[in-house]
């Protein structure tokens, strides 16, 4: 099985440099992020506080009625440890009118509404606080499409998107994210008792190993099976990655002219900075 150990000092250095450089070159000095009480946003908050100074980081807690009490408490541990600025903006009153209009709305749909409501709050705070929104999606989630488009996937820049969950956990431990956050099972906390691994149907430990072979090491599916993964699991994960490609790219523009944004109008975002 592959070794997903990372040099946490090096990752920390590159990611804090990235946050500082990419925010300041865009003309800002501050960052905004949603602090859920989970591991990913806690790590993003630690890195942002180190990169920009705690007073330049706004951590927003956005609980829903059914959010676990632990989530708020765990987010508070991060806020207390770092001294970042903070706001608590419950989303219940904002999303309930829509839920009430569709009484048969199922959990997944509600979860997407909540994720997008949080996005609205973060981008509003981005304007109010004059800070850029930091994304907290990791490489595992992005590849599996375990994100809400225009919801938790929406951000101005993402420092964590090239770290698998198991690598992110190493970095979180190295920067001093509090122990209760490192220990608890990952959860989107969109409904009571939800955990990522139950919902996905496999563990991060297993899928990270497989994704590392498939994506980073360019193994063929058969080579993954030969390395000890069940064929059914390998093919299910490959199909999931394929089906979610739409979440990882800008929407396609129908080409009509000789020069079209995205196809042959090519500039980095850092153009001129």
């Amino acid at each position: 099985m592959p070794d997903l150990t990372i040099d946490t000092n090096l990752a920390r250095k590159i990611l804090t440099d990235f946050i500082r450089t990419e925010i300041t070159r865009a003309g800002f000095s501050r960052a905004v992020l949603g602090l859920s009480g989970g591991l990913d946003s806690a790590l993003a908050c630690y890195l942002a506080a180190e990169a920009l100074q705690p007073e330049n980081v706004l951590a927003v807690r956005m609980p829903y009625a059914t959010s676990s009490a632990d989530s708020l408490a765990h987010a508070q541990l991060v806020i207390d440890a770092l001294g970042v600025r903070t706001l608590t903006i419950p989303i219940t009153d904002m999303v309930e009118p829509l839920f009430n209009r569709y009484p048969d709305m199922e959990n997944r749909r509600k979860g997407n509404v909540m994720a997008r409501q949080r996005m609205i709050i973060l981008f509003d705070q981005s304007e109010a606080f004059k800070g850029l929104v930091l994304g907290t999606s990791n490489k595992t989630e992005i590849l599996l499409g375990y994100t809400t488009v225009h919801g938790d996937a929406a951000c101005a820049l993402n420092p964590l998107g090239d770290l698998y969950k198991t690598q992110l956990r190493q970095l979180a431990a190295a920067v001093g994210v509090p122990e209760p956050l490192l220990q608890k099972p990952p959860s989107a906390d969109l409904w009571a008792g939800q955990t990522d691994e139950d919902e996905l149907g496999f563990t991060y430990a297993a899928v990270d190993q497989l994704l590392y072979l498939l994506v980073d090491q360019r193994y063929t599916p058969q080579e993954c099976v030969d390395s000890g993964f069940e064929a059914k699991f390998v093919h299910a994960v490959i199909e999931r990655v394929r089906k979610n490609q739409f979440k990882r790219v800008m929407p396609p523009i129908a080409k009509l002219s000789g020069r079209t944004v995205g196809y042959d109008f090519l500039y980095l975002r850092d153009w001129g900075t």
Partner: protein
Amino acid sequence: MKLNVAMAQINTVLGNVEQNLEKHLDLIEQARRAGADLITFPELSLTGYALQDLTPTVACRPLPDDPVFNPLLAASQDIDIQVGFVEEDERNLFYIATAFLSGGAVRHIHHKVYLPTYGFFDEGRFFARGESVRAFDTRFGRVGMLICEDFWHASSPYMLWLDGADLFLFTSASPGRGITPTPHNTAPGRTESARWVNDIIRAYAGMFTTFVVHTNRAGFEDGINFWGGSSAFSPDGEPLVNGVEHAEALVLAELDLSQLRRTRTRLPLLRDERTSLVQREITRITRNADG
């Protein structure tokens, strides 16, 4: 003879030649005051790296009346300068280029001959390939210049060696990638790409019994980091300096050029190199490949 080299490991403003030129002139002045004989700048130092559709807008011609080269040529009266830029030729082909300026004149220009177009590299889409690898004479002896991917092909430094270069000036805009740990590592370590580059250029210094100076850029372009870590190696393959990684710096190194004689007396690899044999075999191999 001692040669003091200043490696200007800079970040750049993407597509803004004016601002980058200003930074070059500041660093040239700093290097001159520090007693450097030569200052080297990274690949595409005047323009930034991932230019894409900015390529034609930042291109220039290294002529005395060019607004970018005019002040650089003036500055080269006091200190020799190696600078990275986009050159546009008479027929509007664009090259990733590096120029050696000395005494107010352009002494040599190298066009990048290997354009990486794979993974996230896309140079072949925007640039024309250089067609020569040649050494040239300077006041410090014979020098050869290569740009990044050029020296991932062993034939490039090999040709420079045969062409008489005793000092290789390598420049890069090398993206940092790979964060597996190095053993017993407590401080931030090196990316895998940084380890590879340093292993390769160190090997060239030792195998070709030649000085190698490598200048790599720092900073970010979108999510891509450039790892800096400029370095110089002696003809024994010993590191003379290792610049700070992941930060801008003016890295200074003193090259004792008399080391060439001592090393080559001890280890006469150059004397024993069988150029004709190589030529014969390459002729046979290419004939077979063509055949």
